[in-house]
Amino acid sequence: MKDMDTHMTDETLLNIDALSLEFRTNRGQVKALRDISFPVKKGRILGIVGESGSGKSTVLWSILGLLAGNAKVTAGRVDYGDRDLLTLDAEALRALRGEEVSVVFQDPMTSQIPVLPYARQMSDILYRRAMSEADKRAAAVDMLRRVGIPDPESRVDAYPHQFSGGMRQRAGIAMSMLTGPNLLLADEPTTALDVTMEAQMIGLMRGLRDDFDTTIVVVSHNLGLIAEMCDDVVVMYAGEVVETGEVHDIFHNARHPYTRALLECDPARIADVSRKLPVIPGDIPDLTKPLAGCIFASRCQKAMPACATKAPPLVERGTGVARCHLLEGPLADASWPPPASVSTVARDDGAAAPLPANAGEPLLEVRDLNVQFRTMGALKARIRGVARPFVDAVLDVSLDIRPGETLALVGESGSGKTTLGRTILNLQAAAGGSVRFDGTEIGNMAERRFKPLRRDMAMMFQDPTGSLSPRKSVRALITEPLLIHGAEGRDLDAEAERLADMVRLPRGFLSRYPHELSGGQARRVGVARALALNPRLIVADEPTAGLDVSVQGEILNLMADLQAEHGLSYLIITHNLPVVRHIADRIAIMYLGRIVEDGPAAEVFANPAHPYTRALVEGVPQPDPDRRRPPSAAIEGEVPSLLRRPKGCDFATRCPLARDACRPAKPEHRHITPDRRHACLFPLTDTQDNKNKTETP
């Protein structure tokens, strides 16, 4: 282990200097990168943060010379030692990649060879080394052990599909570290992983940096990851570097209005719980057009007329640079940047949803709902003597949603939350239990009888674009619910315009097709479709998935406004806890198909009863470098497969507090207060509960 001083070195390993790059597309030349300059210091972790379209990944690929065929570097250099990587020939680049520079990809499923075992893939990486096969295998085993793969001697012979998502990403990191590279490039290394896995990966990569003295460049849109992992940060916007600096400087003393806005938009950084989230209005500029002045001017709250025409100065500051008129020159503003408590982005606080009283009959009542998936055919099960050829995707779930209420269903992938949502909407057959909507039993109802109910219950799907029929115009898409449920006598064009206005989608978009929409616009179309029939309940599956931080606020604000206006109830299915805190009245935590805890959102966050809830709440990387957790804070292991559901408490295999009593049988749900339940034999709240009792008798 090297001591911390090595990370403070000023030696530059890689220097990107005035890099400009264009993509040749149907729409003309896209000026994807313009005058990118920043150093990567040896032994440190540099984070490149930006929203989609900022060019952050393009920078990464240009370092490696792995750009798409339509890309052309128009200016600049990438100096690695005494070589300019942009001028190296293919052979020299190949020698560099893998040996000195290597990559961790976003999706380990698609970046590993499915037909070769890890032993083979990893010894292939060492093809330049004069080592025996046995030594190569030993090196692979060592590295797998180092990244935390249990039992590496036998696991090294596994194929990628035999690993779970988290293990696959660990193996991906092991492969990239195998040659002992000087520089490790990581492209959104945790985006495909769950929260608890993300915390583990951050700890792992920081540990590897310390052990192997590797310099790491990580690209991410996730401010929490950047704050927790990086030493230096580069903020990119629309193909330009707007600000650089050490991580503390960026997060506590941001100078550029965009950095500042980005930080203020992150729900995890907003301390007060509010229904309305701040947003950066507007869209990223069109990079095929001639650009002048400050690239962020069109969306900047502090923009002055000169910003649109005059290029901002590059201002040196403590640990980096920022590019803004406010900091230096004739337009400098001494009062900028304001203290952290002052909000610099648009935040409409108006009409913060006076919620209807939560009393009254529940709109949706789910009792002991079970959903099973078949694992094999009936005949095969008979032959193999399997008594129960099913897995329980949803197990004994009970929940209520009252009118005008938002219930968030939170869980990691594989928790059965999406299955539960689909079962409630009768898109998936239930194996037992009851679903009552407005007092009527609707579970497993025949589609013909269920159809009228679909007016009252709508669903928003996870993939904003993929959930829209690709060959239909937006107009056809948002009027379709009306057509399905009988639109006699309605003026469909007028309805389409009314719905577009309602979700704040410009009317000109009505004649577009889904592939011509951005994620946020497609999401609006999804909201409009869900709202077309004035439903009473909307089941929203990951409503912010695939949206940038600055856009997700717009969608959530829209949903909150519509809730206030129409008295909607929401069932929001998500893994995104920081967002949940702001939008949910109550939350239910799911693990392996079972609800382990539910209750009022504020209480559950402040005072989790189930160890899993605590792990989730604490597992979210905080976008604040001063609140980094020790690597030990992450819970161990991964969500087990449904096929290997533990007999007792489902969480017992990973629970740091598990005792023998947890293992023989599933804990019953117990109430703490009438609307707060958990399924843990030794809840964390016991001690606090007793305290509460003595304080308020």
């Binding site: 729409r27 690929w61 290597s102 990559v103 990809f105 990239s176 069109d286 689909r422 379709e480 577009r512």
Partner: protein, 307 residues
């Protein structure tokens, strides 16, 4: 392996956020496709031949110098002359006129046969792909059963029962080509079946016919149309083959098959009849094959190889 080149598409998607002029780009893409089509000599040859086929068949009564059934006994078995550019047959009928009119039969069979089998195959394929498992298995069995049966034997058996007629030819053509469309449509439907947008339609309460015809069909029909272009020559040659065997078009009606048949009888004395009857068959086959392949390459470059 982490040092190997990544999926290049990822870097290509970097500037995806700015889709402000997406409309315009769609238009440009279409223009680009058209340009690619027009610069491909196979595509242009195919198009010219296909247009020639349609025009000659449609306007045959006006182009043809003679009535195809008018007999001119003194001029029988004439070789190619200025009066009869493709010669005459043993009854003195003008072969060129008969070829033009025979093209009408070919077009009739091709148009009706291909469109009918395309529609039926599309519907059955979508039902197989979207419906319950047992129905899928049943339809697949039916497709395989039809496919395994030689068209000519099936035709001979049918004609033995009903007697030769154009309707029988048409029915045989439709029946035997349904499975190719059905299988393509089924595979494409299966891939769409579990996509989110289909689930979204179900969650809105859309009926199965609505899902099939409004949402699945537009996404499935593209490859079928290309397949149809390539099936036309198959259909035309089935008709010609059956007519050649005398179980298709009845005399005296002209068809490319009957011209070949009659020419075959007198091949020693008048070889030009077989030649003249064969040329349009070859040209049509070439034309549609070129056109179909060019369309396929343009709309789905991935399918370009290995077929």
């Amino acid at each position: 392996m982490s040092a190997l080149p990544s999926d290049p598409a990822r870097s290509a998607t970097a500037p995806e956020a700015q889709d402000g002029e997406a409309r315009e780009s769609a238009g440009r893409e279409r223009r680009e496709k058209l340009m690619r089509f027009l610069t491909d000599w196979q595509a242009v040859t195919g198009l010219v031949l296909v247009v020639l086929f349609f025009a000659s068949a449609l306007f045959a009564p006006w182009i043809a110098p003679y009535d195809p059934n008018a007999m001119d006994i003194p001029a029988r078995m004439s070789g190619p002359t200025w009066a009869h550019i493709a010669g005459t047959d043993q009854l003195g009928r003008d072969t060129f006129s008969r070829i033009l009119h025979g093209g009408r039969v070919a077009l009739y069979i091709a148009a009706i046969g291909v469109s009918a089998s395309l529609s039926i195959g599309l519907v059955l394929g979508m039902i197989a792909g979207y419906g319950p498992r047992w129905l899928d298995n049943l339809l697949l069995l039916a497709f395989d059963a039809v496919r395994s049966f030689p068209a000519v034997i099936l035709a001979l058996a049918t004609v033995a029962l009903t007697g030769p007629s154009l309707t029988v030819v048409l029915a045989i053509v439709i029946l035997t080509t349904i499975p190719s469309y059905g299988r393509v449509a089924r595979t494409a439907t299966l891939a769409l079946r579990h996509t989110e947008f289909i689930l979204a339609e179900r969650s809105l309460g859309a009926s199965t016919p609505r899902i099939l015809f409004q949402h699945i069909m537009p996404n499935v029909i593209g490859p079928l149309l290309i397949l149809a272009a390539m099936e036309v020559p198959v259909v035309v040659s089935i008709e010609a083959g059956l007519s050649f065997l005398g179980i298709g078009v009845l005399p005296p009606q002209a068809s490319w098959g009957t011209i070949l048949n009659e020419g075959y009888l007198v091949i020693r004395d008048a070889p030009w009849m077989v030649v003249a009857g064969g040329i349009p068959l070859i040209l049509t086959t070439l034309g549609f094959t070129f056109l179909g392949e060019a369309l396929r390459d343009i709309f789905d470059p991935r399918m370009g190889r290995g077929r």
